[in-house]
Amino acid sequence: MKLHSIGVLLSAGMNPANGRMRRSPIDAQALELVLMLREVNPAVTLEAIHIGDMSNEPALREYMGMGLEAVTLLEQGPGSDPVALLSDYLQSRNMDLIVAGCAALDAGASGVFPYQLSQALAIPVLPDVTALVVTEHALVAKQARERGVRQNFEIGSPAIITVSPLAPSSRLPAYVRARAGTITTILRDDHSVMGQAVPALRGPTLRPSAPMRKALASADPNATAEERLRAVTALKDGAGDLHEGMQSEQIASEILARLKQVGLHRSKTSDFATGVEK
């Protein structure tokens, strides 16, 4: 399949250790996926987009150190809607695939920005992707699910992809490449975009994190401490089945029958899929 251009959405986050802006690890993994794709298919053009201003330059230099030649910076004016800004720009660029991280590092991290973008552009989203393969006829993405299940999807163009933290880890930035990269600033001067700005969704209020409290195991809220301890530490203590004196063949056949019942053992006819309970 002919992939003309891929857009990567990059964001910056604050490093809690030293208070400096740094590249977002999940966006770096998204960029890594696309860079790996470009190494295999040299015909693919890549454009990296960041919405913000030049104060995030250290973070953008870290991205460029991974092997990115240029970053497009969309200057966001005060009160402008980032979704409208980006969708406006992407429609003019006519991209086949847009790759983003699954959630932002700061500010709410609900992961809803790619979905707002997909609604504005009317293109589908595929979340939690760990691998991208371009075959002759299609673009195949592998989605990471629970219990180690990996689901393959064939994606038409254009589409938005969100990258999962289980994707291959990103390469470290190189200083020379970081210095050599260029940042192209696109200033949105036409006030038409800002005038039509849809008020952004009211997000959550942020506060410093408090320790998370785990749920209690016992049902009764009036249980004494002794009862709660017993509920958590009690073993089966005779409630399980004990089989003595059985032959190994019989034991093995019983275990295989139980596995088949749960759906974890394949038989001659059925197709095997990891982790799916039938």
Binding site: R202, S248, L256, G275
Partner: protein, 411 residues
């Protein structure tokens, strides 16, 4: 009423005994606290009157079966003492009935088979916590197939929507859900914290026009709290519209049973254009699945002699290999395969423990396993107390048979 009177009388009876026993203690409250600790020993008093159960010395002695299965002499001769009475009262849960719900909280379940998995239970428990028990709001569980165990899990109503968890993008589940939200006028929709659930939550939230709370660990009727990406901030959401609850932070056990009665919804799934096609799940070898989330684990202990046979059996059964600390110390398995207190915790659906004794530290690693099958030569091993099914046999012989029979069945 009767229970309150009995309890009061019993408390007075207990108090009088304790005060007699502890003449030195000045504080009657302290005496009562001691009485509470010793409550279990006061099994020989009737719950109604608090009087000691009178035993007929000429009655035929009866035997009851204790929890361990062994017959025990019934000291009370059929009468139920106070602690057994209170245990029976505690264990029988009242049913929470809701005649005319004033609103709905929708819980969208993920299960493909007919059982509830832990993510589904968390989703229902979160919906229950948002709805509360006194406000007249019902929890409506939506699933693709009929699911067992909804009464204990907290659902007031349930409804089947075939194709709800469709993995392809040719049906628009979120359009159906937003239509349902408008029709039932429901305040919150709770999804499972899985890949599909989070995707549906974000899509639905974007359609409705709210920001979803993904991975919320504190839930209430009007606000919820989730952790931000870098772990430094908490995001407090005003109003709970679309939520995903984090597993382990919502209590899934209730002191009520619920009526999971069917609710008729006249909605069908809306067709959307399939730009993304589902090609199906990949056949990954189970050995590569991370140990914490592997569904089928084969764990070997110090009682195994033939390790090459163990590896072959794991490959044949497509199970994830694991080992105890002793096995990893000796080098038979790498350290990242260790299960136990200093290793990984397993959340497997089926966990087969071969030739391991079940030391306390290892049992800490298999607390959350759904089913444990133990094969051990020693019937007094602690793993037998933990396991759901135990076979007393040699692990190597059973492994050889498992390999042979599995090969026969799959060829």
């Amino acid at each position: 009423m009767r229970e309150t009177t009995a309890r009061r009388r019993f408390s007075l009876a207990r108090l009088s005994i304790e005060l007699k026993r502890q003449r030195g203690r000045k504080d009657w409250r302290e005496a009562l606290r001691f009485a509470e600790v010793r409550e279990e020993r006061l099994d020989n008093r009737l719950p109604s009157t608090g009087q000691r159960i009178r035993k007929d010395p000429w009655a035929i002695r009866r035997f009851v079966t204790a929890a361990s299965g062994r017959p025990r002499l019934d000291e009370n001769q059929g009468a139920i003492g106070y602690s057994a009475f209170r245990k029976r009262v505690r264990d029988s849960k009242p049913t929470h009935r809701l005649q005319d719900p004033s609103g709905y909280v929708i819980a969208v379940l993920d299960s493909e088979s007919g059982k509830l998995n832990p993510l589904d239970r968390t989703c229902l428990a979160a919906a229950r916590q948002i709805a509360g028990l006194d406000s007249g709001v019902a929890v409506l569980a939506l699933s693709e197939v009929a699911v067992a165990g909804l009464e204990e899990a907290g659902a007031d109503r349930f409804s089947l929507i075939p194709g709800l968890r469709s993995t392809g993008h040719d049906v628009s589940v979120e359009d159906t859900l937003s239509a349902l939200v408008r029709q039932l006028d429901c305040q919150s929709v709770v999804f499972c914290d899985s890949t599909i659930g989070r995707h549906s939550a974000r899509t639905l939230a974007t359609k409705i026009g709210v920001v979803p709370a993904i991975g919320a660990h504190e839930l209430g009727e009007h606000c919820c709290v989730a952790r931000c990406g870098a772990g430094e901030c908490d995001a407090v959401y005003d109003g709970v519209r679309v939520v995903t609850a984090k597993e382990g932070f919502v209590s899934t056990a209730f002191s009520f049973r619920f009526e999971a009665s069917a609710l008729e919804i006249g909605l069908s799934l809306l067709r959307a254009d399939g730009a993304i096609k589902d090609l199906g799940a990949e056949n990954t070898p189970a050995d590569q699945i991370p140990l914490e989330e592997a569904p089928f684990v084969l764990c070997g202990g110090a009682g195994i002699r033939d390790w090459s046979l163990f590896n072959r059996v794991a490959a044949q059964l497509n199970a994830t290999r694991a080992g105890t600390r002793v096995v990893c110390d000796k080098g038979f398995l790498p350290r990242d395969r260790q299960v136990g207190a200093s290793g990984s915790s397993s959340t497997a659906t089926v966990y087969i423990a071969l030739g391991l004794s079940g030391a306390v530290q290892h049992l800490q690693g298999i607390e959350s396993c759904e089913e444990v099958i133990a094969i051990n030569i020693d019937s007094a091993a602690p793993i037998v107390k933990r396991a759901d099914t135990s076979y007393i046999a040699d692990a190597d012989e059973v492994m050889a048979e498992l390999f042979r029979q599995s090969l026969e069945q799959t060829q």
